[in-house]
């Protein structure tokens, strides 16, 4: 059978993405119709650059969702005779089937791995960024609002982490050996927990979302006992459940579980990102706390945490949303860097960074191995950066 031409490859790939195109069309049309009611997101339609960014980001989100439908092969499927074959090569023994973007060094389909790899990125990067924001907000608000000694200590700690060369920290934190080094504690049901550095980091960092929501509800509903008990109870139940599952790997129902290596990477990424978020939140808080509505709330006799979480935080959302987009992009780059140094999730995973790392060794002979994930990563980060730029421009117009 003949090799496919470039045009045929393009058509085939565009066809494979059909669910994404449909999803994209539905989302964009719906957002366009309701754009007046969607606040900042709706205003994005006024900025062509932000729009382009949004489309790129949505494209990768939808690709991650429909990855199983799009990818013709499994990430680990090997077909003999397809090793390092060029794009558009017919699959041996199967009529009418092709490796659209060629085969990799282990005869796996480059295109399928690219599509399935988007899932890794689209889950880890936003989740890690969200956690970093929880940590940064929970510490940055009091530092900026109270000032004084709290501020001095927290700022010093943040600067300490920020002065740490990121790459060095990752090399030291994301190694398989470090996970198993520490005192072993016996948990219930024969489970054990090792007090290793990443595990202790997880223990501390994963506490922040729970603390954040607890403070959020108690400050809001301090006079409404019924709502207070409901919201605090739910937070403790769900948060505690997830906490036990993720930190101690001891979820009785088995819903919350994180691979130890993934947990290691996850906490490292959160740890590196949180101080920057802290600095931004602190800066915005210092700026906002001089506003009249904060003074008004203080005169009303509101408690400090109410003012921080329900007066200052909502008004700081503009810069925080913009930074959130940028930070997901930065986290994506960071995860790619980890993969590039072979510190990724697992050696066989279709993670983009790791694929680039594997492909770079054969770059001058078989450029089709490393190029697709490289371009994919670039387009995703570009989308996020353009989206952030559009959001910033639109939020400044207010």
């Amino acid at each position: 059978m003949e090799r496919l031409t470039t045009l045929e490859i393009t058509t085939a790939i565009l066809g494979a993405f059909t669910p994404v195109w449909i999803g994209l069309a539905v989302i964009l049309v719906l957002s366009w119709i309701f754009r007046g009611k969607l606040g900042l997101y709706g205003k994005l339609f006024g900025s062509p650059i932000g729009m382009f960014g949004l489309i790129l980001v949505l494209f990768w989100i939808l690709t991650a969702i429909f990855a199983d439908q799009i990818a013709p092969y499994d990430a680990l499927d090997q077909v003999s005779g397809m090793k390092n074959k060029k794009p558009g090569w017919p699959v041996r023994g199967l009529e009418g089937e092709f490796y659209w973007l060629g085969g990799d060094n282990l005869a796996r389909d480059v295109f399928s791995r690219l599509v399935l790899g988007s899932r890794q990125v689209m889950i880890i990067a936003p989740a890690a960024t969200l956690f970093a924001f929880m940590v940064g907000i929970t510490l940055g608000l009091p530092a900026g609002f109270r000032g004084g000694r709290t501020d001095t200590v927290l700022t010093f700690l943040a600067n300490l982490v920020l002065a740490f060369p990121v790459i060095l920290l990752f090399f030291l934190l994301v190694t398989p050996e470090i996970r198993n080094d520490g005192t072993v504690y016996q948990l219930w049901g024969g489970r054990t927990w090792i007090a290793s550095v990443p595990n202790i980091l997880a223990l501390v960092l994963f506490l922040f979302p729970i603390v954040f929501f607890l403070v959020l509800w108690t400050s809001k509903y301090s006079h409404r006992k019924d709502k207070l008990f409901l919201s605090v109870g739910l937070t403790l139940l769900i948060g505690g459940w997830a906490y036990i599952g993720l930190v101690f790997n001891a979820d009785p129902l088995g819903v919350f579980y994180m691979d130890p290596n993934l947990l290691n990477i996850f906490v490292s990424v959160v740890f590196v990102n949180a101080p920057t978020v802290f600095r931004i939140v602190r800066g915005v808080t210092i700026d906002i706390k001089t506003r009249d509505y904060v003074a008004a709330a203080q005169t009303r006799g509101e408690r400090p945490w109410y003012i921080m979480l329900w007066e200052i935080l909502p008004n700081a959302r503009g810069p925080l949303i913009v930074d959130f987009c940028l930070r997901i992009g930065y986290t994506t780059i960071l995860l790619g860097t980890l993969g590039f140094f072979g510190l990724g999730v697992s050696p066989e995973s279709p993670d983009w960074g790791m694929t680039i790392n594997e492909g770079r060794k054969l770059l001058s002979l078989y450029p089709h191995l490393a190029l697709p994930p490289a371009l994919a990563l670039m387009s995703l980060v570009l989308g996020l950066n353009l989206l952030a730029d559009g959001l910033r421009e639109e939020s400044l117009k207010d």
């Binding site: 790459i167 030291l172 050996e177 780059i333 590039f340 490393a370 980060v381």
Partner: protein, 352 residues
């Protein structure tokens, strides 16, 4: 000003101590020490033998004591064998007769200039670090030479007329470069300019030969790949700063008194617009460190970043520590310079 400098330097030293201690803790975790014992002693050592090797060679002292020894503020450990021979941190692992041992200094740490001995390169670490820093310095020099002027030019031109078509194009270009990490731009550049795919083959895909003799063909790709990623950020900061300055009253006044647009830009706006980018450029240098590690690995340029990867990959504890110290100091000193420079450049800031 003096008290500001003193305070900043004090905080800097405290930060450096904290950070090096954290690194010391992390590189001296048990698994690393066990690997060290096996690679230095014997691969087939039993757990008990590993333990006794570590104990004999001073690795089982309290961490703070060992950190003090490494830093050179505490006397190095010594151990006298039954035959009366002495081994020690400053003497060596092999015991020597007492008279010989007495010749050795009692303090031998970082402050005394003793950076340790690399288990990978089989050389004193101090020399390696100096040599590799020179190589990376060469790379950084060319990167900054390409990155800073082009970023400033792009930023100033884009910010000069905010919202114009030139501005939009240049801003999008800046965003594109910030979205392209070094491992992506490196791969793309190699594929386009140094592979069979396009057949251009203008440059070399490896910079191994550039260590001795940097030429246009073997050094261009690493320099460009590294410069591109940092460039966009500086350009955007310059643009923002320039756009802000262009809206100031004094620019309007200069325009109204009849000065030409370019004369206003060059004589009035530029100097004020370049204060913010200076800080950004200084802060960008430590940020380039990650890029240096990536690019040196990708292009096989055996500089500082490459050494870091080798040291971590081969559990070379002394080299890891030395590399970390240098990296931490680069970060802290650039921060200090950026703070001081900001104060000097901006007459509106007074430090009390």
């Amino acid at each position: 000003m003096l008290s500001f400098l003193l305070r900043r330097s004090g905080v800097m030293l405290l930060t450096a101590l904290c950070l090096t201690f954290v690194v010391f803790f992390l590189v001296n975790l048990d698994p690393n020490l066990e690997k060290l014992a096996k690679s230095e002693g014997n691969q087939r050592m039993t757990d008990a033998q590993v333990e006794s090797w570590l104990d004999r060679n001073g690795y089982r002292q309290p961490l703070v004591k060992r950190y003090g020894e490494w830093l050179g503020v505490m006397p190095g450990w010594t151990r006298t064998t039954d035959e009366g021979a002495t081994a020690g941190r400053c003497i060596g692992r092999t015991p020597v007769p007492a008279e010989q041992a007495e010749q050795a200094a009692s303090y031998c740490g970082l402050l005394q200039g003793n950076w340790g001995f690399s288990t990978v390169f089989k050389e004193p670490v101090g020399g390696i670090v100096l040599n590799k820093l020179g190589l990376t310095g060469k790379l950084m020099f060319f990167v900054l030479l390409v990155m800073v002027p082009s970023a400033l030019v792009i930023g100033v031109i884009a910010g000069m007329r905010e919202g114009s078509k030139t501005d939009r194009t240049l801003s999008t270009f800046s965003i594109l470069t910030t979205s392209t990490p070094e491992y992506v731009s490196g791969v793309i550049l190699i594929v386009v300019f140094a592979s069979r795919l396009t057949g251009l083959r203008w440059f070399n895909g490896t910079a191994a030969s550039a260590m001795e003799n940097a030429t246009f063909s073997n050094f261009t790709l690493p320099v460009i790949a590294l410069a591109l990623y940092g460039m966009g950020y500086i350009a955007r900061m310059t643009r923002a700063s320039m756009a802000e300055v262009m809206q100031e009253q004094y620019i309007r006044t200069a325009r109204l008194k009849g000065l030409g647009f370019y004369s206003v830009v060059l004589k009035h706006a530029l100097r004020n617009a370049l204060i913010a980018p200076f800080t950004v450029i200084m802060l960008q240098i430590p940020w380039l460190l990650t890029g240096v590690v990536i690019i040196e690995t990708l292009f096989n340029y055996k500089g500082f970043g490459w050494t870091l990867v080798q040291a971590v990959g081969n559990n070379d504890i002394e080299t890891m520590m030395a590399v970390s110290v240098v990296a931490v100091f680069v970060v802290l000193i650039t921060q200090l310079i950026s703070d001081i420079g900001y104060v000097f450049l901006n007459p509106r800031i007074r430090v009390s």
